[in-house]
Symmetry: C4
Subunit: 327 residues, 4 copies
């Protein structure tokens, strides 16, 4: 049996305005990476033209960012160090007779003082040209301070959805039949309200001898919650409206499919709309399982305790593929 | 009589997509704290992973914030003070022979000058290693300046709903029957437009021998105002559409319920949507009262005068539970 | 004839959810000031509690802002100047014997160097306490820099509707009858799209012997434009749907009314929604006039030329109150 | 045959709320420039009043911006240099006997050190007035740093639609008939979701002997895509609903028309709505052509490869004007 020989529910209407390609042979592997970024490469225009360095600097980890600006500070300093060194340290006012290495160090620290517009007063630019370079370095230093201030604020204040998804989607028992379930939970001290989820199924099908991508909007039990405070389990009931209505256990195992999840919410810490995405390939779908509870009444006080480590915790259960979900 | 033995209006439809748990035994005390934050705790991932330090620094009071950054400044300074002290103050250019305490002080002020990239010129880093540490401290100092600039701007510019709620909700006479009323007023020089209120009732009920949380969207007399300039009294008429239609005075006193209030508006100072929340437990519901007027024509000029101190001011009135609200 | 003895169109439905008061005797003069701010005062909580100093600093003119921060700089400096002066200038390293005035000046400039973390190296803090105060002043200086940076950015980047309204509203001929017209034009190099206008009429009426405020949403010929590039004339046709349908010329002259205008648009320079408001009292309504053209094809190039100085330019025309507007 | 003697489809309803003028003789050339800015000039109020210098500084290229602030730095420095020079360098503490040129240079570098609040300690302000000017220059320097920080952050963080349009629109074969097609593609590492396109046709027509501008909203095959990751071809089918239904090949060549394109999307890097616009005159419409494919499966990995240089790449095809598009 070939993997594309299953039958989708003819009642489920596919849609093409997903922004992904329709011809499966033109398209690469999964549509979205696990982290929600589209799985594409761009070519034909220069690297710097197709990259927003601001967003690269915003998206890197805290450590990478610190290393980047430290490296920047060092590089600029070294460039000016060489300039001062070759102009001659002897020219500097206040400088003593020194070995070559000491002269280089003197130049380096003089440069760093100019760049950070500090200055301890012992050494001073001795002649016109050194003065000119110092003035330029100080200008550059303040400009760099302005840039780094902007970048740091950009990093802090960028609205992000502090929301985690379960690693797996489950094919779980539901209303006498079955449903696809996935779970998310906010994991930081922010408050998400008016959260809305949109789940799209991408399937590779054979149509007139050609492999094509078909997309289906999956109807959800609840696609909106007023306030996303505890965990939220998103449920797509596999009933008559589902494109997967006729799928057998083998189809679920063999089909080349991908579940695309898109969540939009209002974060009232950022006072901004935040969005996040993820995707589950059919390989990441656990057949016959249900999620374990992840919150309970807290002992000792009257709060509710949410166990974030249990987000992907599930138990295997039996699933009867012959029974259908009741609407 | 047990507290959960009241009868809710069967015509009022409960809803489960509130984002709060449905099983009352799994859930803690009140759903929202008085300040609008959900009453939950998180566990299972590290403290720093589940906290956004940016938002902690944004939400603390002005005083706490000033103390935090002062403490930060002192701590960094002290760390470098110890480093300089143990490297030996005698190494510094321009330093005099001093007592140990004076040496420590010299190190401290040298450090603070390096950190703030100031420098008065008397003392200067005497050798290579001190120079290196100074360069690092100046780099750190400017980085800290950048961070503090970002945090301060984040604190100023964060859109907040400058809106206060009455401490109590009232069960007040209304159209021949009664209504739940609560009042809010903007208290700063900002302008809120297109304000929308959403009021949800959470009740703990016994269902099939189990305690469950039931949620009801409460219909409001007006849920939108064009412009929130004076006070706004939100009115939920207890008529046929209300889940509380059959409630007796005892039910109001004994039931374990909570009124969740959510307000969204466009603030045209911030040019941003702001949201705010609060909640009233049934213990905070005053039975038989109505709000006093809080604005009147100003004497001497033609302005309207809003008395913000009267926001929670109310007078006791008689309430006839046998009469019903006219729609 | 008393000014409130006109008859409003009974078909026009008044609404109360405007956020303005309904009892005319409790309410002050005009609802909105000409600049769009509500005409109210607040009392009952402290000045600093009911004022957002951030918004005060954002709303003041460029000149006022510069004066404020200059004054701040001077004040802080003077405070520290006095501290240094009374600690004794003689204590400073590098200081010469000076007259009292010169000592004060020395203290002042030393303070300003500490505050701006500059420092020319001649004078240095001579003892422990002076050093301590210097370290504090430098800390304060950098903090002030951070605050001013934030305020300046807040001022630049605050989304504002660069939109001007005609000073007067006109009662103009329209479709055989008449209409209330007012005009607006964007006056800066920004682009407003999806602009939406909402016009509300506030009237003071006598109802059962009491003076009340009645509000009517006025139907507009077009309330939305795709792109606000040229001028936009807002037209409320006085036809059967209008509350002013039965108004005579005397009514327009004598009634105490106010036309509240609210415009919302997306500014794609700021990438943000901007709103603006204004109001016209009936005293600012010109009876029998129409707006002059304010744009034409530019000579010499193929651009359209918009004359912003003609925004309120109108010509008197005859108006026949006996004829009705055709819908 | 005059260019305005074609017949538009009487079923297609024109609309006037586009924000552009209706009288063609009052209006200039194209409505929108290719970069999406309206093709208008403003007059009647002062230059600085009708320009937002913040937006000018935000919209200029990176190079122009750097030049502007360098020029600003130099200008301020030179002004203060002259002041110091004419006050007399001899007054400065630490200054040597110098030639006039050297005195000027000394003044210049002293000024730049004051402005950048650096200072190497050799030279210091010698008297009261120089001190006063130094304090003022340092204040100005920090203020400038604050302004530049704000501008740089404004430039980084300004939400922009990183979206490119094909240079030409095509009149392409479609469903047995023809359609107007244009193509866009995101070209940076940002993600656009919920993209919505609105296409308006502006035509110059003769009506009752007068030239007027008529605007038509063009119905699109798909006007919304969930996620704008690959290229998006916007298709206006020329069927019975189209104002161009009766157009002959000559009409397309001769008519004076302009296709206005407006795209709105949510960019989740900026967490903000971004908009962009462009326009195609009928001169920029290629008759009888279709777009070449611009993406395919990447060799060597499983990504999809998008060729951004092929955005405007098209092939000539035959077009049969006698056949009609099937709906």
């Amino acid at each position: 049996m070939k993997w594309s020989h299953f039958i989708t529910n003819p009642k489920a209407k596919s849609e093409i305005n997903t922004g992904f390609g329709v011809s499966s042979t033109d398209y690469g592997g999964r549509f979205l990476n696990k982290n929600g970024n589209p799985n594409i490469k761009r070519k034909g225009i220069g690297y710097f033209e197709r990259m927003s360095w601001y967003h690269i600097l915003l998206n890197m980890s805290r450590l990478e960012f610190l290393l980047t600006i430290s490296l920047f500070y060092l590089t600029i300093n070294l460039v000016f160090t060489f300039v001062y060194y070759f102009m001659g340290i002897a020219e500097f006012g206040g400088s003593k007779t020194l070995s070559h290495f000491e002269q280089f160090a003197e130049a380096f620290f003089f440069s760093s003082q100019s760049f950070t517009v500090g200055g301890y007063g012992r050494v001073d630019p001795g002649n016109l040209w050194i003065n000119f370079i110092c003035a330029f370095e100080a200008f550059l230093g303040l400009l760099s301070l302005a840039v780094v201030t902007g970048l740091l604020y950009g990093r802090f204040s960028r609205p992000k959805a502090y929301l985690r998804f379960s690693k797996n989607a489950l094919l779980a028992p539901f209303n006498g039949g079955k449903a696809i379930m996935l779970r998310m939970a906010p994991f930081k001290n922010t408050t998400l309200t008016d959260a809305e989820a949109k789940v799209t199924l991408g399937l590779v099908l054979e149509e007139n001898g050609k492999l094509v991508n078909k997309f289906y909007q999956l109807p959800l039990e609840y696609s909106i919650v007023n306030s996303l405070t505890l965990s939220w389990t998103i449920v797509h009931p596999i009933d008559e409206r589902s494109p997967l209505y006729n799928f057998t256990e083998e189809d679920f195992k063999n089909a080349k499919g991908e579940i695309l999840v898109f969540v939009k919410a209002f974060d009232d810490m950022f006072s901004n709309t935040v969005v996040t995405r993820t995707s589950y390939t059919f390989k990441e779908l656990v057949i016959g399982a249900k999620f374990d509870y992840m919150y309970h009444r807290s002992e000792g006080d009257d709060k509710t305790l949410l166990h974030l480590d249990k987000l992907n915790s599930y138990s295997q259960v039996d699933l009867d593929f012959s029974k259908q979900t009741q609407i």
